[in-house]
Symmetry: C2
Subunit: 203 residues, 2 copies
DNA sequence: ACCTGAACACCGTTCAAGT
DNA sequence: ACCTGAACACCGTTCAAGT
């Protein structure tokens, strides 16, 4: 969104922003949430702690950027999914992929509420995040509708339906990541919950 | 669980532990998660920061205690619910109550994973938490089975079913608390998702 | 003009010192 | 024997000082 391609003798600002986000992602993957400190991000990105605050208003702002990216990747994934296999098959693929993303960024979403409640709702990064959520949601609805149609089914017509599916994906991903259901295989769990979710929104 | 009723000239240890937890709860309700600091808890509970660490091994330990209590309250609530109204009505009540609890302790559960992964799994408080989860889960299964039976229905027989319902409750509660679905009323959302959840586990 | 990193105000946790 | 709170090692964030 930011069209300020400010290159200088110090380097490209856009590149540094990118490097900062990449550093955050790799720290998250390697050491989990607790390894994600501003100092560590700065060191890995090759900048200073102070400079990070020129590209991001605060730590939450970095989270928002990571969440936006994750959301858009998910939208791409959903768009690329085949619809001929029907609703359950579609949901099965989606649950697996959503859980993968959740393992990385799930912890970050917890802090949404903190900013959302405050005056910070009109931040650039928040508008961007909401936009990416909207992109994902519409991709989701389209995929669900088309997959249901492919097997001669229809989704229940209700404005709450999207939110129920999103809630389901979130809850199921959390369960998968936490690995609380130790007595059953992940494959079985994903398959069963995909069919359950499909049942819940059709007919 | 702790049978050490160690009273002394300094007062009852059990009472102080209780007061510490109550202080944590009130801070959580008044100022949210960010207000929940050890110093604030100590001050409100009328003890010192150092003393808190005699009753709880660390901050997470306080969370675990609060979560256990919340879980047992939920179990009581589920047990008290009428079954004659059928599955959807039961789930509707449960979703509302679960969301209420989630508003308070949802944020605390995020840190489960951190301890769960570490060696701390054999802590007293963790065993207690798992026990309270088991109590809630069996109350849940009983209520679901009986409510389904009351309307002449049967639950799908699968070990994954409980986890799907729990995932659903968690995801739906989160959605309700975050209040992301602004265009629909909470009542409608709870009603619709209860029926969706009922459909997903019957027949 | 841009960048750095010491400094500030916190945090969870510990432990010498008090009673 | 029990309790306190200063001290320690962090954290996110800022801003005087450097280039």
């Amino acid at each position: 969104m930011s069209s300020t391609s400010s290159k200088s003798i110090y380097g490209d600002a856009e590149v540094r922003r990118r490097r900062t986000l990449d550093a955050a992602i790799s720290l998250l993957d390697e050491g989990g949430y607790s390894a994600l400190t501003i100092r560590a991000v700065a060191k890995r990105a090759g900048t200073s702690t102070g400079l990070i605050y020129q590209y991001f208003v605060d730590k939450q702002d970095i989270f928002a950027a990571l969440l936006s990216e994750s959301q858009l990747e998910m939208a791409d994934f959903v768009n690329s999914l085949p619809r001929e296999q029907g609703l359950s098959a579609l949901l099965e693929s989606m649950i697996s992929e959503f859980a993968r993303h959740w393992a990385r960024v799930g912890r970050l979403t917890t802090t949404w509420r903190d900013i959302e409640g405050m005056a910070g709702s009109d931040r650039e990064s928040m508008r961007e995040l909401h936009a990416s959520v909207a992109v994902f949601n519409s991709a989701l609805v389209r995929a669900l509708t088309e997959s249901a149609a492919a097997e001669g089914n229809r989704l229940i017509d209700d404005p709450a339906l999207v939110h129920v599916v999103l809630s389901g994906l979130k809850g199921l991903s959390d369960t998968i990541v936490i690995n609380v259901a130790k007595e059953i295989t992940p494959e079985h769990f994903v398959n069963f919950s995909a069919r359950a979710l499909a049942r819940s929104i059709t007919q």
